[in-house]
């Protein structure tokens, strides 16, 4: 199902108008990223050692990354409850990855080798290949250890009629999603208390995403420069508001009532979700998760300020 909303009236843009300028810096970055992707290649389907099962008396996600962490409720959980919660939260987190990467791949595939994307298509081939691999290993983790993926509760997002606005929003959403996910990957990749397969997958994802984030920031920044030069201040402001709402939305998607039920925490999982989302400790944690992206967006002039309703 798709929710379509009013689009922004604007004149159609040409390919040159809706593409960022390829500065020499961006050109060098693309060349370097392509080289790194080639160097980092290995057969992903043979790279990892997948155990038949994971221990039930262990954390599968770093405790500090679970959605109850820091609240008084976390202190009341037994060790077994905390571990079970971390296991279900990990399956949910990888499910979100799979759903997000499917959306991301769809958007990139629809643009590769289209007018305006010629300079970036070489790197986008690496990007698509790596995202496909991420989907594969995260979905395998969910199926092999978690009984399957949690279903996606989101609907396709709004389309903007203005082609430059739409292009900017698509890649800004991708950037925000990848940077949030990397907050988790970078930490779990170095958490030696987690099962080795968990560390290995998160570490591999973090390496790839570092390149994707570098590419995404440059692309999004260039697109926004075009927006500022060619579109109204009202539209630019509307896009900032939309992206901040998107940030809130993906943070909220981390809190899944099905996870709380499956972890045996409560029958009233919806109320627990609401209460967690309102908790000041969790709100502060949300700010921490977004800090890197918000700082970058403010520095690039994409956001006027770093205030996000989280």
């Amino acid at each position: 199902m798709e929710l379509t909303a009013h689009s922004i009236p604007a004149s159609a843009g040409t390919a040159s108008e809706t593409s960022p300028r390829l500065s020499s810096r961006f050109e060098q970055l693309l060349s370097r990223l392509c080289g790194l992707s080639v160097e980092d290649r290995s057969n992903i389907y043979q790279r990892f050692v997948w155990p038949d099962s994971l221990p039930s008396n262990a954390y599968w996600m770093s405790p500090s990354l679970t959605t109850l962490y820091g609240t008084p409720a976390w202190e009341e959980l037994t060790e077994t409850q905390r571990q079970t919660l971390s296991q279900r939260e990990s399956i949910h987190f990888y499910s979100l990855n799979v759903h997000g990467e499917r959306e991301l791949l769809t958007e990139v595939i629809s643009r590769i080798h289209t007018p305006g994307f010629e300079p970036f298509s070489e790197y986008l081939h690496h990007f698509v290949g790596e995202e496909n691999e991420h989907m594969w290993y995260f979905s395998r983790f969910c199926q092999q250890y978690g009984g399957g993926l949690y279903p996606d509760k989101r609907v396709p997002v709004r389309k903007f009629e203005d082609p430059l606005a739409e292009r900017f929003i698509v890649f800004a959403r991708i950037e925000i999603f990848e940077e949030l996910v990397d907050y988790f990957n970078s930490r779990m990749g170095e958490d030696a208390s987690l099962p080795p397969i968990v560390c290995a997958l998160n570490s591999a994802h973090h390496r790839d995403e570092s390149r994707h984030v570098a590419f995404g920031r440059e692309l999004v920044s260039g697109l926004h420069q075009n927006l500022r030069q060619t579109r109204s201040a009202e539209l630019v402001q509307e896009l900032e508001i939309y992206l901040k709402r998107y940030m809130s939305s993906i943070l909220q998607s981390l809190y899944n009532p099905a996870v709380y039920r499956d972890a045996g925490l409560t029958q009233d999982a919806y109320a627990l979700r609401r209460t967690l989302l309102a908790h000041p400790v969790r709100k502060q944690r949300h700010q921490d998760m977004l800090k890197r992206t918000l700082t970058a967006f403010v520095n690039e002039g994409i956001f006027q300020n770093s205030e996000v309703p989280v």
Binding site: S56, P72, E76, T84, K153, V155, R158, R273
Partner: protein, 158 residues
């Protein structure tokens, strides 16, 4: 499947149980120790922000009897209508036949929370692939599609 985990709590609540649950308020429902602890903590914070009254609550005008004496909207629909107005303080009310999608009162970024609220009200989870945008076009279609059969006069309060 999930051999290493405790048996998950059943996701789907039987319709009769859901309907019974619908007639109780969240505030008066038994809550788990975890939920109780969290509420105390959150309320203390909200009281700091809002003074002794805590966070304000708004009553939907649709909860009042209509001018012609006909009954007001069902409590479930009032709850959904209040939720939708949270991001649209300029709206005093949302008409039964107002297009929620075209007016962007319900957009994709709010949809997940709306679905969770609807699941909570009905006691049944939804699979996104099995529902259509037209099911959410107006409050009337939402009531017809999802709320028909719930006990009238239920006292559900968010």
């Amino acid at each position: 499947m999930m051999a290493q985990l405790p048996t998950p709590v059943a996701y789907t609540i039987a319709p009769t149980v859901a309907r019974q649950a619908f007639t109780t308020t969240i505030e008066s429902s038994p809550v788990s120790p975890i939920e109780s602890t969290l509420r105390t903590s959150v309320y203390a914070h909200e009281t700091d922000r809002h003074g002794t009254e805590g966070p304000s609550t708004r009553v939907s005008p649709l909860a009042l009897p209509n001018e012609d004496g006909s009954p007001p909207l069902s409590p479930a629909l009032q709850t959904l209508e209040s939720f939708l107005r949270e991001d649209h303080p300029e709206l005093e009310t949302i008409g039964l036949d107002q297009d929620l999608i075209d007016s962007r009162i319900l957009d994709s970024l709010r949809f997940m929370n709306f679905i969770f609220l609807l699941e909570e009200l009905t006691g049944n989870p939804f699979e996104i692939d099995r529902i259509s945008v037209d099911d959410f076009r107006t409050l009337r279609t939402i009531e017809s599609r999802f709320l028909a059969g719930l006990i009238p006069g239920g006292a559900y309060v968010r």
